[in-house]
Symmetry: C2
Subunit: 314 residues, 2 copies
């Protein structure tokens, strides 16, 4: 038997046929074209699944289950997507719609939960009883895994680390609240504060790396400039790291997992990020003498979306 | 068989013999006298257990297990108390020491986790799959229950809601960090800000209720003045409620339990607290349209410490 994993994004649908051992046996993809009615998107997802299965030399009978990672809030038990801002989906019966085409068990969960699950099966958090993954991308996501199962919360809202409150009455967030982690610890936040530095200190290496065009400033370029010791870039990066350390303390104080995994685009900064966060953690942890969760970089790349989704059915 | 529950506090040791159904069959207590060597404290705990068992007309053979709620951080698996500030205990082998006197399974956990467990067995969160209790007392504690079992985290640090960071670089905390929830959401915080109001607005009803003596200001008196509409007391209370709403959002965003229970001394404010928090929650929640955890007041009183500790062995 094989497990189907679907990584549903705002731009692309990526489908993989995944073995028991976590190998991707075949892959297909299609454009999401999210402006269409959801029925059409899900019909294309089902078509992608069957194409991938055929490509792997298998048939529908070989499918154990279909797992879907979605960029939003899902209530796994009900099979319904509550809210997907990127897709414009509200209360979409994804499981029921998918089962019109392929009558197999269908599981859904938030894409960050799914990535955390993949890491806990085959990545850096494998073998740990509990793990929390923080995905530092355009926004900030999170996933919780307890005893090998993702924890999405009672209403599918769990793991939304990006929307924990970090600064009371702070920067307004797209979620309708203020001061969310995402406003201070995302690639978007890095870029925003870097642009402010570019205005104040036009000599910064950030602006040089962007060819003098402030609109070309991105997270990688800010981190590269910080690695080289540029003062503006270091201010931006250090502020990011400080807020991340506070967020890690929140997770430790509340949940205290065995391991906390840093993933998402900003985590490609690698050891430069990991070492700087680890160095600052003791300052922002409660009860300094007590052991804290292990901190590590995510190991799986893009395939985590497909593999983790597939493992929802395991 | 019966379950022994021990509520170990900085001042008193309270021991109860608890039935399968959660009734306390008999109780004993002793002074903790925490300045003594831990061996003597634990010897007295064991003596209290045997006295309570005899009082219930039972013998050692009737004891299924001994559960102990401690005012600090314990690593349940190892049976060792890492840190108890109130008792001055660091790395105390509580289980091994207790088993010198009574050779039964011994379980330990933080007192807030234990209270949360009691509520989930016999109180307001009974029947829910997951719950989080926030204890609003001198400090702020917390307990997490998942599928009827307490979650103390991988290193015994879980549920320390009072030490999540609420205000970056905020008020210094006894834990060595800054801006902890406990600095803004405890009875201590209520009293501190109330005293500031008394200095600035000596006409406040808070000071009148304290007989003009600022040192007699306590949490109950501040809440009573707020209920009567005193402007100073309302400023103090509303600030407390606002920070509590942010903390509840943090718990919802990260963990999303079925129910959040408010306990501890400040929760005796009852519906006045509950209704004000519930009214403010929509303002401080992410994604306003999605369902949120149920919010409720703790139902069990002081006996939660004994009953919850006993249930550690169930």
């Amino acid at each position: 038997m094989v497990y189907i994993g679907i990584d549903l994004g705002g731009t692309n649908i990526a489908v993989g046929v995944v073995s028991e051992a976590g190998s991707i046996l075949s892959e297909t993809s299609a454009k999401t074209l999210a402006e269409r009615p959801y029925q059409e998107v899900i019909r294309d997802m089902a078509a992608c699944v069957m194409k991938a299965v055929t490509k792997a030399g298998l048939t529908e009978a070989d499918i154990a289950s279909i797992g879907i990672g979605i960029p939003g809030v899902a209530q796994g038990d009900s099979g319904v997507v509550f809210n997907c801002t990127n897709l414009g989906w509200i209360n979409v019966p994804l499981r029921a719609e998918m089962q019109k085409y392929i009558n197999k068990p269908v599981f859904l969960d938030n894409d960050a939960n799914v990535a955390a699950l993949a890491e806990s099966y085959f990545g850096v958090s494998a073998g740990y009883k509990s793990s929390v993954m923080i995905t530092l991308g355009t926004g900030v996501g999170g996933g919780i895994v307890i005893n090998g199962r993702p924890w999405a919360g009672a209403h599918g809202r769990g793991g939304e680390i990006g929307h924990m409150t970090l600064v009371p009455d702070g920067a307004p967030c797209t979620c309708g609240n203020n001061g969310c982690v995402e406003r201070y610890c995302s690639a978007t936040a890095l870029i925003r504060t870097a642009k402010q530095e570019c205005y104040s200190f036009p000599d910064t290496a950030i602006l040089k790396k962007a060819g003098g065009d402030i609109n070309r400033v991105n997270a990688k370029l800010v981190i590269d400039a910080a690695k080289e010791g540029d003062a503006s870039a270091l201010r931006v990066f250090n502020s990011f790291v400080k807020y991340l350390a506070m967020t890690i303390n929140d997770i430790t104080a509340f949940f205290d997992p065995d391991i906390i995994v840093l993933g998402g685009g900003v985590s490609y900064a690698g050891d430069f990020l990991l070492n700087n966060v680890a160095a600052l953690l003791p300052r922002y942890q409660m009860f300094k003498a007590l052991p804290i969760p292990k901190l590590a970089l995510a190991k799986l790349g893009n395939e985590a979306g497909i593999v983790g989704a597939a493992m929802l059915g395991k």
